[in-house]
């Protein structure tokens, strides 16, 4: 049976690269792409033109937490099943502690943590008793000190924590929870976090997408519940 995958943050960066990569997997029959930027989603879909999978676009701001159950409900109705959830959407607005606004903290945690938890809850409700995989993208910023990235780095630490907790809580249900923490990757987020960096010298989104595709393959059964560091050795 062909798998259906949901990918958040699919309008750019690792999300887009993952969408393109998974669209080439022969056992993926449906892909739901979620992102706030509708134009970016359409560009991602264009890059998946050679795929045999059914691709649907869901322009949605994950800052609206209350609408997430209906969003996942409509995807489940459209495809009839959900097998994979890739939580890739991220938000970063680096500020020093004294410059960090309430709005910055709330937005960062809402997108990076709260929306992720609600997405997982709604997907788990619809896949009980079937094998499924959830992959959460954290960051190496979540496991080391990052002065000036307070909200972002601490929110990614929360992702590492919630992922290992859910891997244990859902153990035995058939649902596996994976976490990856990419290091420096040439994404729009990285451009915000490190504007001076030469993006051509660091890890590319499609390299991270390759790792994600391997973890989401049916043959992968042992790497869930761990924070997998994905970092290019220079």
């Amino acid at each position: 049976m062909a798998r259906t995958c949901i990918i958040t943050g699919a309008s750019q960066g690792i999300g887009r690269a993952t969408a393109i990569r998974l669209s080439r997997e022969p056992d993926v029959g449906g892909i739901a792409l979620i992102a706030r930027n509708a134009e970016g989603l359409a560009e991602t879909q264009s890059a998946m033109a050679d795929s045999g999978a059914t691709v649907r676009l869901y322009p949605y701001d994950l800052g609206d937490l209350d609408g997430i159950p209906a969003l996942i409900g409509s995807i489940h109705e459209e495809f009839g099943r959900i097998d994979v959830l890739c939580n890739i959407a991220g938000y970063a607005e680096p500020r020093a502690l004294l410059d960090t606004t309430n709005e910055n903290i709330v937005r960062t945690y809402t997108i990076n943590v709260l929306a992720m938890i609600i997405l997982i809850r709604e997907v788990v409700r619809r896949v009980r008793n079937r094998p499924a995989k959830i992959l959460n993208v954290a960051s190496t910023a979540g496991i080391t000190s990052r002065p000036g990235w307070l909200a972002y780095a601490s929110s990614k630490a929360a992702v590492v924590s919630l992922s290992s907790t859910l891997a244990d809580e859902l153990a035995g249900s058939g649902i596996k929870v994976y976490t990856i923490s990419p290091g420096r990757t040439a994404t729009e987020l990285r451009r915000i976090l490190a504007p001076e960096e030469d993006m051509t010298t660091i890890m590319q989104p499609d390299e991270v997408a390759d790792v994600i595709a391997r973890l989401l393959d049916d043959s992968e059964r042992i790497l869930d519940g761990q924070n997998i560091i994905v970092r290019k050795q220079v």
Binding site: R125, R126, R128, N129, T165, D168, E169, A171, G172, S173
Partner: protein, 227 residues
């Protein structure tokens, strides 16, 4: 054979010393009651599962059933003032069923195979039992009598009974004003048929005191193959 099930979830948390009833305590991140219901979810032969709950926690229990997406086979009713009354209420709710399985939320480490073995047993009335590994004497302040360990069995749930015969036995016990702590004893006293004892498991522990939860966490982790 039309089979129903009663899950006793009537605790009020007195002996466990926690502010929430035992059935809602978490084991491996999920409420004890959910552990039991998950084992039953994949057994379609059990056509109806009636969960008995104190009136004060009916809504909480119903919310739990909905949140964890248990289907229409799972319903929640108000239990009685005692365990025995709760079972009887469950039997009334399962009117028309030929066979009834009885289990309790505080034995979350029961396995799906335990339920299947009960269903597949050719005996109508079946309980699980394990040997008693320690010496038991009669007495309170002084020893008043001896018990032969080899003749005793530690009673475990789940159990299976002929539903209408168990109901008749319950009514007879109530008429006599007798209280039993579980149904194999009651059925032995008032039933008209033998109760088969199947070998139980020392992993199917009952969560009674706080230390039991610690043991249960270790057993649960072991069952998932964790280090």
């Amino acid at each position: 054979m039309k089979t129903g099930m009663i899950v006793l979830a009537g605790g009020i948390g007195k002996r466990i010393g926690r502010p929430v009833p035992k059935q809602f305590l978490l084991l491996g991140g999920n409420p004890l009651l959910v552990h039991v219901l998950e084992k039953v979810r994949s057994i379609p032969e059990i056509e109806s599962i009636v969960i008995t709950s104190p009136a004060s926690h009916l809504e909480d229990t119903r919310e739990l059933i909905a949140n964890h997406t248990f289907d229409g086979r799972f319903t929640c009713i108000e239990g009685g003032a005692s365990r025995q009354e709760s079972v009887y209420n469950g039997l009334l709710a399962l009117d028309g069923y030929e066979s009834v399985i009885i289990h309790e939320a505080v034995r979350p480490l029961v396995s799906t195979d335990d339920f299947r073995a009960l269903i597949e047993s050719p005996d109508e009335n079946v309980m699980y039992g394990i040997p008693i590994p320690f010496t038991v004497l009669k007495g309170a302040e002084y020893v008043e009598g001896l018990l032969e360990r080899r003749e005793l069995v530690n009673v475990q749930l789940p159990q299976k009974f002929n539903a209408s015969e168990l109901r008749v036995a319950h009514e007879a016990a109530t008429k006599d004003g007798l209280r039993f702590t579980e149904d194999a004893s009651l059925f032995f006293q008032y039933g008209q048929a033998p109760v088969r004892i199947l070998p139980g498991s020392d992993r199917n522990i009952k969560i009674t005191v706080p230390a039991d939860l610690i043991v249960a966490e270790a057993l649960h982790a072991d069952s998932l193959g964790r280090d």
